[in-house]
Amino acid sequence: MKRNGALALVFHLAFVVFMLAPLAIVCIVAFTPEGYLSLPTRGPSLRWFKAIFGYPEFLRAFYDSLWLAALSSTIAIGLAVPAALAIARYRFPGREAMTALFMSPLMVPHVVLGIAFLRFFTQIGLSGTFTGLVLSHVIVILPFALRLVLAASYGIDRRIEHAAISLGADTMTAFRRVTLPLILPGVVSGWLLAAINSFDEVTMTVFIASPATVTLPVRMFLYIQDNIDPLIAAVSACLIALTAGLLLVLDRLYGLDRLFVGSGKG
């Protein structure tokens, strides 16, 4: 394979700067010692990171977001694993339509889903509740979980399972001892990707969150709408650091290229 030329490398460098500049500027501004938005020319200060602790609403929103992400991605993976096995292994009437339905939250704009959930939850008395948030997040993150579990399920050799059953294992045991370990990388990465997507979701959540149950991105969004100051930069910097950490875990666990590129089929 041929190497990239000098021009290509310059282009690539410019692109990397373009991708990282907004994230870098947030992290740099977060260290400012001044009371206003500025670069930390007098040396870095942790002032604004300490200030976060004076705003319990950010901390509470963070914990709520963590809970929400953990709970909704666990439910989503619980629904996605059997559904993926059904889609990967059986040819049955309605299979295509069902897959399209499960993937539809990727295509329906999140604004529309937010509005639909707001209307629905108001009618059935779930509006502004944590249960409502969990249910809606399960829907929007299920496609991510399903895609990865599906990719893992296509690849496994069913004869191993048949061997287990012929050796006397019942269906549940065969699933628990044979199938599940085989698709485990897909399940874990699916769970993680679903959790990250739940944690980051803002467009739909902004419609159904109430002052009592608000996620971190929504709280940040509402804050930015009023004013932009070093405090919000510090909160965002923490979020960026957290995501970077998770990203490295995900890369080690599954490989980012496989996670995103090879996720269509087997």
Binding site: L9, F102, V202, T243
Partner: protein, 288 residues
């Protein structure tokens, strides 16, 4: 139950729970939203469940809505073009890197995808402000004398959205580049084709399906983007998503907001399905 019968019903048992959840939480709420767009609404009487075409007539006849939807699609087309122009060469460069460098660079390209859109857009708000780094840099270089206006303009929204959505384009193009046989490229070069001829006659025709499917994804996500236009565009530069948000949470005219949302959904579904058809028919042989 016989074995054959259980084999036949097994997929429904397996997928049943997810199916029930999706029927209850996707189909029913979306159906209710469509219904809501035909309800009446008044400042004092609130939502009245009586069938009326009032909201739809208002959307079709009031030029304000036309303007907002036009802006939404104009921004989406510009973002899509920018993603193609930057994303295709970048994917090509990534594909030619050594595996070690590539996985590092992939972190840079895909990483931002997982960072909250709010944090990324905040970064652009900091960079693009009239005292932001971009303006300071351009003025220091002597390219401009007065700061350019990026905040609260379509240009600013396009820049921020391009940053948010370009990973999708790169991933789509990269996926199709990986199916490319490098020997074909080498064969073209050994037969005397120059760099641009190889690009035009060998590489481009093979990655076009990837570019198109990436473009469809980017366009759809740009047209329904919310947080970036809301933060960069401010309260005045409305797009379809922020308009629907306003009707729901500020004006509280839910039926009108529902109509805006349904129109956005229908327009997008038509565009996506239509262009998917086109891509598949035109490039059917490539997908084999």
């Amino acid at each position: 139950m016989s074995f054959a019968a259980s084999e036949r019903s097994a997929p429904y048992w397996l997928a049943g729970p997810a199916l029930l959840v999706f029927l209850g939480l996707v189909i029913i709420p979306l159906g209710m939203t469509v219904l809501l767009s035909f309800y009446d609404w008044g400042q004092y009487k609130g939502i009245v469940p009586e069938f009326t075409l009032k909201n739809w007539i208002e959307i079709v006849t009031d030029s304000y809505f036309f303007e907002v939807f036009l802006r939404t699609f104009r921004i989406s087309i510009l973002v899509t073009l920018a993603c193609v122009l930057i994303g295709v060469p970048e994917a090509y460069i990534l594909n030619r890197m050594s595996p070690g460098w590539r996985s590092v660079c992939l972190l840079v390209v895909i990483g931002p995808l997982l960072v909250s859109v709010v944090a990324r857009t905040l970064g652009w708000a900091l960079l693009l402000g009239s005292n932001g780094l971009v303006n300071q840099g351009l003025m220091a270089l002597g390219l401009i004398t007065t700061p350019l206006e990026f905040m609260f303009t379509e240009t600013g929204v396009v820049i921020a959205l391009t940053h948010v959505l370009i990973p999708f384009m790169i991933l789509a193009v990269w996926a199709s580049l990986q199916r490319l046989d490098p020997q074909v490229e080498n064969a073209a070069a050994s037969l005397g084709a120059g760099f641009f001829t190889i690009w035009r006659r060998v590489i481009l025709p093979q990655v076009v399906p990837g570019v198109l499917s990436g473009a469809i994804i980017v366009f759809a996500l740009a047209a329904s983007a919310f947080a970036s236009p809301a933060i960069i565009g401010g309260r005045r530069l409305k797009v379809a998503a922020t308009l629907a948000y306003d009707e729901f949470l500020n004006t509280l005219n839910w039926p009108l907001g529902a109509a805006v949302a349904v129109l956005l959904l229908v327009a997008l579904v038509l565009i996506i399905v239509g262009s998917n058809r086109l891509v598949e028919r035109r490039y059917a042989q490539v997908f084999e």
